[in-house]
């Protein structure tokens, strides 16, 4: 008696086993497929950060690809690795992303060598987003430290593009030194927008610096706003958002109205590899955007 075991084609299951849709009717067998995307433009921001303009190659993918402010993508550099990167552009730009990338390791280094026209891969978008709808008709504090301005740019774009939906808008940004300031070419533009207040501070000024000096919390001390009518988005390193949120909290902003974006090591973006796991929470699917109350409840989150 010889028994040949039946070969089971899992694509048959796609009908009833469909992955959470990230902007494509993804079939089960395609969860690891990347969208091919071209680097159309590269802007040197500082010695360590570059802004990459990336455009999905296929028309129908570009058509379908949408995201919300605060979400991130997995950026694939074939042969070198896949890394989580926050989307740093306006959600209204279809199939077109701006990614601000700091050179820190293997994948980011190879990216920094890439030329215009290079083809990379995009998976996503993944994760939770800043609840821009909830914030409607309120004042918004958009606070960033260092590289935190990269994820904050998407909500900034959203707010400025839907300016009538929001009350007072304060953009507050701080870095250690003036040469670390990102997107300096946009400050003038933001400042000119009606009802948008931009303030910038550095910890260690150089000779040419004429602006504010100190920690970002100093700017918030001086800030005039109505805590009862305000939402805040805080992006930056954990020490920074911890101090800022505590400060806002004492000023009367409820913790559930402050949103932060957490960063963890991630290898899949799909709640599988566990590397971003904090207790039972996956930063990639349950986050990266959390309200501050949830963060306080996550052990070891900060």
């Amino acid at each position: 008696m010889s028994t040949e075991l039946h070969r089971y084609d899992i694509t048959q299951e796609s009908d009833f086993l469909q992955p959470r849709d990230f902007n494509r009717k993804t079939l089960l067998q395609h969860v690891d497929q990347v969208f091919r995307a071209q680097i159309t433009n590269i802007i040197d921001l500082t010695s360590e950060e570059k802004l990459f303009h990336v455009r999905l190659v296929k028309d129908h993918q570009r058509e379908r690809f949408t995201f919300l402010p605060g979400q991130f993508v997995m950026l694939e550099v074939p042969g070198y690795g896949e890394i989580p990167i926050s989307i740093s552009s306006a959600p209204t730009n279809k199939g077109y992303l701006e990614l601000c990338i700091r050179k820190v390791g293997r994948v980011t280094s190879v990216l920094h060598k890439a030329r215009r026209g290079a083809l990379v891969g995009i998976r996503g978008p993944f994760g939770t987003s800043f609840p821009m709808e909830k914030m409607r008709d309120h004042s918004v504090l958009l606070i960033a430290g260092g590289l935190g301005l990269a994820p904050l740019r998407a909500p900034i774009f959203h707010v400025t593009e839907n300016r009538t939906n929001y009350d007072q808008v304060h953009i507050i940004y701080g870095t250690r030194t003036p040469d670390q300031l990102l997107f300096d070419y946009q400050y003038e533009q933001w400042r000119r927008i009606n009802g948008v207040n931009l303030s910038i501070i550095v910890e260690q000024p150089d000779e040419a610096w004429t602006g504010e000096v100190g920690l970002i919390t100093k700017l918030i001390d001086d800030l005039d706003f109505d805590p009862a009518n305000t939402y805040a988005i805080v992006c930056g390193p954990p020490v920074m958002f911890k101090f800022v949120c505590n400060q806002l909290s004492t000023k009367g902003v409820p913790m559930h109205r402050m949103f932060v974006s957490l960063e963890r090591r991630m290898h899949c973006g799909m709640g599988k590899c566990c590397r971003c796991n904090i207790g039972s929470t996956y930063t990639c699917v349950d986050g990266p955007v959390f309200d501050y109350w949830s963060v306080m409840n996550l052990k070891e989150a900060i």
């Binding site: 074939p78 070198y80 190879v110 060598k113």
Partner: protein
């Protein structure tokens, strides 16, 4: 990597041997399936063991072996002056290797044992970094060619390279090897940096620690567990001191 707009560069490489068995540079000619592409990814301009060409215009120097004589110090300094990137290749170059075992004797005593009354010049063994600054250390006795291939790819594109931080046990388990301790034998796997793919436990030998310590090795618990299993201090010390990669009893911190 053309799709990124990066042209692969073929760095000019010199290969140099000092006091050792030359087994590490031999690995350069091993792994024959990819030998052609490997040798195409670099330009070998000086490699005494397999070539008569003696180019002095290398950018990367692969240096194997430990340093045990004055003429070696001199030769190593010249290499350092020329090379942009100096790589210590293999356990002898990185830690001193088994050669250090001779240093339990004074040079005079070692000479008496081996050469009788006609002694030869020798000095206490030094690792390459103890003589000149080293840019990259690749441990292994011998080095792993698979790992070297990857490192070369990184060095050629000037990308940072990261060795595994975790110990050999991970790779050992992933090969399905029955743990040496279960078979009643000693193994340094829990302390030693992975990356070799654990050939020694698979061959029934147990790890001897040729790749040196993993990140943050737990010596205290290791000492306790080997004692519980009845291994003597001497047995454990024999192993820890074998390749020169671990701090040994009486030595301050890392050698």
């Amino acid at each position: 990597m053309r799709y990124l707009g990066i042209e692969p560069i073929r760095p000019r490489v010199g290969v140099f041997s000092f006091t050792c068995c030359e087994g590490c540079v031999l690995q350069l000619a091993n792994k024959e399936e990819t030998l052609g592409p490997f040798l195409e990814a670099i330009q070998v301009v000086n490699f005494r063991e397999i070539s008569t060409e003696k180019g002095a215009d290398y950018e990367i120097a692969l240096v194997e072996g430990s340093i045990s004589r004055d003429d070696e110090v001199e030769r190593l300094r010249q290499i350092r002056d020329q090379a942009k990137v100096l790589v210590a290749l293999g356990t002898c170059a990185v830690f001193g290797g088994v050669n250090r075992l001779k240093d339990v004797f004074s040079p005079q005593e070692a000479n008496r044992i081996v050469y009788g009354d006609q002694s030869r010049e020798t000095a206490p063994i030094r690792a390459v970094h103890e003589v000149v600054p080293v840019d990259l250390s690749i441990p292994g006795c011998p080095i792993s060619k698979v790992e070297l291939e990857r490192i070369v790819q990184h060095v050629a594109l000037d990308l940072p390279w990261q060795f595994p931080e975790y110990p050999v046990c991970v790779e050992c388990k992933q090969r399905f090897t029955v743990c040496m301790f279960d078979k009643g034998q000693l193994c340094l796997g829990p302390l030693t940096r992975a990356g070799c793919d654990a050939p020694c436990p698979a061959g029934g030998l147990g790890c001897w620690g040729c790749r040196g310590p993993a990140a943050d090795p737990n010596h205290a618990e290791f000492d306790a567990l080997v004692a519980r299993r009845g291994f003597s201090r001497a047995q454990v010390q024999d192993r820890l001191s074998f390749f020169g990669g671990f701090p040994t009893e009486g030595s301050e911190e890392k050698p």
